[in-house]
Amino acid sequence: MTAEQVVFVLAAVVTLGSALGMVTTRSVFVGALWMIAVFGGVAALFILLGAGFLGIVQILVYIGAIAVLILFAIMLTPRVMGDPNAPRYNRQWPLVAVMASALASLLVALVLRTDWPLAQEGAPTITGFAVELGKGFMTTYILPFEVASVLLLVALIGAIVIAREE
C-alpha cells in the first residue's frame, strides 16, 4: 500500500462518508455542511489525480460560491426547516434506496467489466497546467468557453429577475 493509495483511501472515505452523512442528516443545513465536506474530499481527489488547478477551482467555486449560496438559501427559507422532527424523506424513499443501490452496483460492475484503454505516458506535471488550460480555452475550445460565459450571464440575469422582491 503506497502513500498515495493511503491518501486516496482516506479521501475516498471522507467523501463517501460525508455524502452518506449529507443524505441521512435530518436537517438540511447539516446536510449542506456534509456536502461541503464532500466538495473538500472531491478537491483532495482532484489534487491526488494531479489536477491541482482544478482542485483549487473546485474549492473556490463549489465551496466558496455554491455551498455558501445553498447555505444562504437554506437560511432564507427558515419556516419549513424550523421543526427538526419533520420527516426528511418522502414516501417513496425505500423504493429509491433500492434503485440507488441497484444503480451503484450496476455502475461498479460496468466499471470493472470494461477494460479502459489506459495511456502509457508518465505522471502528469502538476505545475504549469493552468497555462495550457488557459491557452486551450482561448484557442481550440474557444466556443465552449464563450458559451459558458453567455450561460453564466443569462443565469445571473435570470436568477436576479426571478428572486428579486418587487
Binding site: 463517501l16 466538495f39 482544478l54 477551482v57 424523506y89 418522502n90 424513499w93 434503485m99 451503484a104 505522471a123
Partner: protein
C-alpha cells in the same frame, strides 16, 4: 504511473453518484434535492478528471470539460435557488410534495 488504478476512482465516483441520486430522489426539501444533484455533478467531475489522468493525459479535454461542468453547475445552482426562493416567497413552502400544481 500512480499506484492507484483507474477503476478505484470510477468506483468512488459511481458510489458518490448513487448516493447523490438517492439524496435527490428521497429528499422532501427542494434544496435537499439540489444538493443531491450537485453531488451527482461532482461524481461526474471525478470521472472526467480520472479519464484525463489515466487515459489521455496530453489532451486538455478532460480537465477543461470538468471546468465547464463546474461553471454550469454554478449557473444551475443559482437559477434553481432563485426559483426555490421565488416559490417559497409565494407559497411559503419549500416542500416538494406541496409544490404540485403542474398535474392533471
Amino acid at each position: 504511473m500512480s499506484s492507484v488504478p483507474l477503476s478505484w476512482y470510477l468506483i468512488v465516483a459511481a458510489l458518490l453518484f448513487s448516493i447523490g441520486a438517492y439524496g435527490a430522489l428521497a429528499r422532501r426539501n427542494a434544496i435537499g434535492i439540489l444538493m443531491g444533484i450537485e453531488l451527482m455533478l461532482n461524481a461526474v467531475n471525478i470521472n472526467l478528471v480520472a479519464f484525463w489522468r489515466y487515459i489521455e493525459v496530453t489532451g486538455l479535454a478532460g480537465q477543461l470539460f470538468a471546468v465547464i461542468v463546474i461553471t454550469v453547475a454554478a449557473a444551475e445552482a443559482a437559477v434553481a435557488l432563485a426559483l426555490i426562493l421565488a416559490i417559497y416567497r409565494t407559497r411559503d413552502t419549500v416542500n416538494v410534495e406541496e409544490i404540485d400544481l403542474l398535474k392533471w
